[in-house]
Symmetry: C2
């Protein structure tokens, strides 16, 4: 039986992504006879560590949101547990609901949610509930437990979470940008995958040389390979010293990608390849 770690508790967007992957699993793995089981973990680094240490087979974690940008904990943990390979990418649309027993917006005194969800609704909150105090929580569902006890409280979570907690939704969607979605990665210790539309890698650059970043990037451009994303993270050694995470629109099995990866070795300090994978929308 395949076990999949995700950031719990029940009702989070991460669980919605895990459920979506669970539903896709039989199509992606027709040889498998059982449906995977989902295992909630208290944080993203712990879910990733569980997959790296074989407590579970896979971890599904958010990588990037279209409004908030990269999920730095996921990138930092993957750099640390670099034996993990990306099995699949998944894009989930995010729609935030205001969940409360209040009858009108004017009755709401406090709004609870995860800091990212509060940030994604900040203009809506300023316009429609300017009187409310905004209180950050560890997950989008944490606030729902208190909402049931007091009708002056509200939480921001998904419509699905509201239904799970049997609580009413007063407004939905309330996210400031309608085109809000989050990309997830499914990580596991299986051998490097070479098929798929995208490949992810990361490298630390050779320091303080003009072109230390440009030369590695030029390798891809010279071969006509499109970069779909670049994100820098500190190496934590000193200010100004970075790891670059790069997604390219090509598979490792293509000969010109093999050539590019060979050319990268002398231009980088440490180079890590996280495999090729497809994206499920």
């Amino acid at each position: 039986m395949t076990a999949i770690a995700y950031l719990g508790p029940s009702g989070t967007y991460a669980e919605a992504a895990a459920l979506k992957y669970q539903a896709l699993y039989p199509h992606l793995h027709p040889e498998s006879k059982t449906s995977p089981i989902l295992c909630p973990y208290p944080s993203i680094p712990k879910a990733i560590q569980a997959a790296a240490l074989k407590e579970v087979d896979l971890a599904i974690v958010p990588v990037e949101n279209s409004i908030q940008g990269g999920v730095t904990m996921t990138l930092d943990s993957l750099w640390q547990w670099h034996q993990l390979q990306i099995q699949q990418a998944l894009v989930l649309p995010i729609e935030h609901a205001l969940i409360t027993q209040a009858k009108t917006l004017a009755d709401i005194k406090v709004v609870y949610s995860h800091p990212q969800a509060l940030a994604q609704c900040q203009h809506w909150l300023e316009e429609f509930v300017p009187q409310a105090q905004l209180v950050p929580t560890d997950s989008t569902t944490e606030g729902l437990e208190v909402v049931s006890t007091d009708s002056t409280l509200a939480a921001i979570a998904s419509q699905r979470a509201a239904e799970m907690y049997k609580l009413p939704t007063l407004a939905c969607p309330i996210n400031d940008h309608p085109d809000n979605c989050t990309r997830f990665w499914v990580l596991g210790l299986t051998p490097p995958t070479t098929k798929g539309s995208h490949t992810s890698l990361a490298f630390s650059a050779q320091r303080n040389l003009p072109g230390a970043l440009v030369k590695p990037l030029s390798v891809f451009a010279d071969l006509g390979i499109n970069l779909s994303r670049i994100e820098s993270r500190p190496t934590k050694r000193s200010l100004g010293d970075y790891v670059f995470f790069i997604d390219i629109e090509a598979s490792v099995e293509q000969p010109f990608v093999q050539e590019a990866l060979q050319d990268l070795v002398p231009l980088t300090e440490t180079l890590r390849i996280f495999g090729s994978y497809s994206i499920a929308d």
Copy 2:
């Protein structure tokens, strides 16, 4: 009188940076006859907006931490209020203290701090106070008020904050990485500055072309200009559409930088130059 916005309340690292800049001000501006006054603001975007709308003369805001990486709110707000220019950069060492009335670490049940400070001490906390619940707050000093009421509570903040609140420090430093520092920018509406060791700019790339990012970066490499930093942020239009923030190690007044900036125009969609400035350590 020069008024400077910063992220309050009193006792935060942002205030320490503002005080450092206040002390430097007479040396940087010998023509000025009065010392600048400091004005606390409730968030980074509000401090930046105050400078852009001339409520204050300057805003001092964190840009990047050596462990946690870029401060996305600062980059997103600067892209929005792009008439602002960087006047000065400032690097502040960060040393976190565990502030509590508890006599031993084993007595501590809850640790309060800003999520970034909790993250920067996570290994120390797991090792020395594994029993404690970690509670995020809006600023590093917010937890200090409750710490004075109950000896089972602790807060993570600076030694300076402990002294301001007349509270004892049980352990210091407790940050996981000794070389922890934060870079700040001083922003203002003064005419573009052209002198200094560094120049910052940002651009949105022409979409989905191989080399859309490499070509602008090559402009600098070809002229031997070192990039000291690159950070991508979502444009918030759709997933996969980015703004790139770049710091170069050269001044706008140098002719080859002028040449590079001219060459960039046809290679980018929107290009914004935030001026040249020096870095105070």
